[in-house]
Symmetry: C2
Subunit: 332 residues, 2 copies
C-alpha cells in the first residue's frame, strides 16, 4: 500500500494538482476573477479526525464530499454562489495514498456538482488528520443573506427535513441494530449523513423577494435549534418554533419514538438545510415554489425568548425554551 | 489558568471576535468588497505544532505573527495587496486561553501592520494544535507575478539576505552556545526568525516594469534554492546562481564558517524574501531603488539545469547542481 511518505512531497503535490483546473496550478496563490458588481464571500471550516469524522462512519470519499458540502452550505447561507475552494491538509506520513485520493475524489465530485473547483491549498504532516477548507463565493449586495435581518412577525422557513443526518449516523455507528427498518429509509438516512446537499439551488427563488426586504438566513449545520437561536440573537428578536410543524419521517418516529425523533430534528445537526426568516407572504409563496419538505415551522416574536411550542397529550399547548445547550459545543 | 474548555465555545468565539472588524462578525461567512478591475488572489498555509512551530522556539505571539506573515508573503509573491485573512484553528481543550490570545495578538499585529484584518474562521478541538490560514488579496491583471514568467537572460534578484531565519532558529534551539556572538547579530537573527516581514513593500516599485513585460516571482519561504528551482521549472528554463553574490553577514560566516553560512542561505528557508526573474536593466534599477540587502545573484539560462557557481580556493569557477533535495520536504 502506497503511503504519502512513499510518494514524497513533490510527487504528492503533482497527483493532487490533477484535481485542480490547469490554469490555476503552480503559483504561490490562485488568481480568480470576480464579476463586476459582486462582493466576495469567504468562509472556513476545519474538520478533525476523531471529532468530525471517523474511519468507522466516513470513508475518504465522504470526508471530502462532506467537507466541501459544509462550506458550500455556508456560502448558500450567505446567498452567495461559489467561486472556488482551497484545501489545507495535515496528515500523518503513513496515510495511505488511496485514502487521500478518495478524499479528493469526494471534494471534486461535490465541487463539480455545484459548478466550482478546488484551486489550491497546502499540505503538511501532522499526527492527526485534519482538513481546513475555505470556500470563496460572490454575491450582488442586494442578494446577500444575513443572520441579523429577522423582523417581528416573520415566519421561519426550513428548506427540508431535519434529523435525517443524525439517524444516518446512528445506523453507521450501530449497523447491526434495527434490521426491521425499511431499506429505503435506511439508505436515505445514511445518504443524508454521508452526502449532504448544500441548498444553493434555492437562492434564485429568494431573489425576487430580496429586492423588497432583506431575508435572514443561516444553515442548520449545527442543528436546527442552534440556527434559530443564532438568527434570533443576531436580530435581537425571539421566536416560537411549532413542534407539530416540523417534518418528521414516519419511519423515524416509528423507529425512535416521537420524543427522540424531535430531539434529533432540533439538535442532531449536519442536515445543511437553510433556516430563513422572512415575511409570511414570502414564506408561503416560497414553500409552494421550493416544494419537497420545505416547511413553515415558526414565527419571529418581539420577546427575545426562543421557545418550542408543543401540544401535550391532553391537547394543551405548552412552551419550553429551545435551549441551545443541547446542541454541539466544541469545547464543552 | 483559564483553558479553552473552561471558557466554552460561545465565550471563546466572543473573545476571538474582538480581533475582527465589527462589520464582519456574526454570519456564516464574511462579505468583502473587491475593487473594480481587480482579480481575487487566494493562498492557504497550514501550521502544525511540532512541525512548523514548537513551544521551545515560538511563543504564541510569534506563532500568530509568522502564520500571518507567511500568507502575506505568498500574496506578495503574486503581486497582490492583502484584503483579509481567515483563521482555522484546531486546539486541545486544555490549551491555555493566554496562549490563544497571544496567537491572535500576533495575527492582529501583523495584519494591522500590512493594513489588513482577520475576517473569520473556524475553531474546533484536536489533540494537535494546528492553524490553517487563508489569505485573500487583490491584483490588477497586469501587475500579477507568476513563477512561469522567467525568460532566458533574465537576472535573479533577491530582496534581502537569506539564512538569517535559520541562524535565529539555531540560537533559539541552543541558547546556551556561542555567547561570544555580537548581541546585535543575535537579536537580528532571532527577530528574523520570529517576526519575518512579507515584502509587500516592494510591489509598487515593480509596477512600472510590469507594464513592459511580466516579471517572474516566488517567495523564499521554503528556501532560496527551492525558489530558484521552482521558478525555473515553471518557466521551462535553467539558472546559474553566483555564490559569491549572495549577501552573507560577516558575523554569520565568522560563527558558522563559509560553507555552513552558504548552506543556510540556500536551504535554510523561512526568510520570506522575494526571488524575482526580470530583465537585467530592470534588475539593476530595482536593486538601486529597493536598496538594503537587495542583490542580483544569478541569471536565467536556456539549459534547464539549475546550477550554483562557486569560486574554488585556487580561484577556479566550478558549478554544482543547486539540488533541491537539501530543501525541506514535508513528507520525506
Amino acid at each position: 500500500m502506497t503511503t504519502l511518505q512513499d510518494l514524497g512531497e513533490h510527487q504528492l503535490l503533482q497527483r493532487l494538482q490533477r484535481f485542480c483546473p490547469d490554469s490555476i496550478v503552480g503559483d504561490d496563490g490562485a488568481i480568480l476573477p470576480i464579476q463586476p458588481g459582486y462582493e466576495l464571500v469567504v468562509t472556513t471550516d476545519v474538520l478533525v479526525e476523531g471529532v468530525h469524522f471517523s474511519e468507522q462512519t466516513t470513508r475518504g470519499f465522504d470526508v471530502g464530499w462532506r467537507a466541501a458540502a459544509a462550506n458550500l452550505s455556508d456560502l448558500a447561507a450567505m446567498g452567495a454562489e461559489p467561486i472556488a475552494l482551497t484545501v489545507g491538509l495535515s496528515l500523518p506520513p503513513t496515510t495511505p495514498w488511496s485514502w487521500l485520493e478518495a478524499v479528493y475524489q469526494g471534494l471534486a465530485a461535490c465541487t463539480q456538482q455545484y459548478h466550482t473547483a478546488i484551486v489550491g491549498g497546502d499540505l503538511c504532516r501532522s499526527p492527526v488528520p485534519t482538513l481546513a477548507i475555505t470556500a470563496l463565493g460572490q454575491v450582488q449586495p442586494p442578494y446577500s443573506l444575513k443572520r441579523s435581518a429577522a423582523q417581528v412577525g416573520d415566519r421561519l422557513l426550513i428548506t427540508g427535513t431535519h434529523g435525517l443526518s443524525r439517524a444516518g449516523l446512528e445506523l453507521l455507528l450501530h449497523p447491526q441494530v434495527d434490521k426491521a427498518l425499511a431499506p429505503s429509509d435506511r439508505t436515505a438516512w445514511i445518504t443524508a449523513h454521508q452526502r449532504p446537499r448544500p441548498r444553493l439551488d434555492i437562492l434564485p427563488s429568494l431573489r425576487p423577494w430580496q429586492t423588497q426586504r432583506a431575508i435572514a438566513a443561516m444553515d442548520s449545520s449545527d442543528g436546527l435549534a442552534d440556527a434559530v437561536v443564532q438568527l434570533c440573537h443576531a436580530s435581537g428578536v425571539g421566536a416560537i418554533v411549532w413542534a407539530e410543524q416540523l417534518p418528521l419521517p414516519n419511519g423515524l418516529v416509528a423507529w425512535q419514538g416521537q420524543t427522540q425523533a424531535l430531539d434529533w430534528a432540533l439538535y442532531g445537526g449536519e442536515d445543511f438545510e437553510l433556516v430563513l426568516a422572512l415575511p409570511p407572504n414570502a414564506a408561503i409563496a416560497l414553500k409552494e415554489q421550493i416544494g419537497g419538505m420545505t416547511a413553515i415551522v415558526g414565527e419571529i416574536t418581539a420577546s427575545t425568548a426562543v421557545q418550542l411550542e408543543m401540544i401535550s397529550d391532553n391537547g394543551e399547548r405548552q412552551t419550553v425554551p429551545l435551549d441551545q445547550a443541547a446542541g454541539f459545543q466544541h469545547f464543552a
